[in-house]
């Protein structure tokens, strides 16, 4: 099981701040593709953090990981 967190406009688009997914280990890119078709959202310009560290598209996600989708940030 992986935990997926959404923020900002993504959270509003999906209507949830988190979902949980049962799946075999998969790459960030694969998860993006899955969620894009499942929720009809655009994750093109969205970064991904795995366990609170920025991850590349090829990084593998394992059961127990927390994956966060991070739209372009606008703090400050």
């Amino acid at each position: 099981m992986i935990t997926i967190l959404f923020f900002a406009h993504l959270q509003e688009a999906i209507g949830k701040e988190r979902i949980q997914l049962n799946c075999a280990p998969l790459a960030v890119k694969q998860l993006k593709n899955h969620l894009e078709s499942e929720y009809n959202i655009d994750l093109q310009h969205v970064m991904v953090a795995v366990n609170e560290e920025y991850a590349s598209e090829s990084e593998l996600i394992h059961p127990g990981d927390t994956v966060a989708f991070i739209p372009p940030v606008s703090g400050g």
Binding site: E52, Y54, V73
Partner: protein, 156 residues
């Protein structure tokens, strides 16, 4: 207020409290950056802002900025507090305090900190205007990241 030097809060920020975290005998200079909510951006009137953060990661990334500064300016001590929730015009969104033995480093390190916050810290603001609302994609309000994420150098 939280005694941690890198923190996200839902409460109004006390500038004094942030400054106190970096005051020390070795320092001869303290610079503060105070980010406040602007009413007009390119002629458009903001009524209020909503800030949201991935709090646990944001605090880690703020601490990372502190580590980057410690490498570039070994004598600097940094504290950063960022507020989230609903902020009105002129409310303080972020306070960065940097102390160093001499003033030049304090100015430079402080500017470095705010630029990095805008690149790597997972905090978002939603603009509420007179005629609508929108999550802001980046601070320039002109573009998203062209490559879909901060460039490699932004993440180091």
């Amino acid at each position: 207020m939280n005694s941690q030097r890198f923190t996200i809060t839902k409460e109004p920020i006390s500038i004094e409290e942030v400054v106190k975290k970096v005051i020390r005998p070795e320092a001869g200079a303290v610079t503060t950056f105070i980010g406040t909510v602007r009413e007009f951006t390119n002629g458009k009137r903001t009524l209020f802002l909503q800030y949201e953060a991935y709090v646990s990661m944001a605090e880690k990334k703020l601490a990372e900025i502190g580590e980057e500064i410690a490498r570039k300016w070994p004598d600097a001590k940094v504290a950063i507090t960022h507020r989230i929730g609903k902020l009105d015009i002129s409310d303080i969104a972020v306070v960065i305090a940097v102390s160093t033995p001499h003033r030049k480093d304090a100015y430079e390190a402080n500017q470095y900190a705010i630029e990095r916050i805008k690149q790597i810290v997972p905090i978002w603001k939603k603009e509420h205007w007179e005629n609508g609302e929108e999550w802001v994609g980046n601070q320039l309000e002109t573009k998203a990241y062209p490559t879909g994420k901060p460039e490699e150098e932004d993440l180091q």
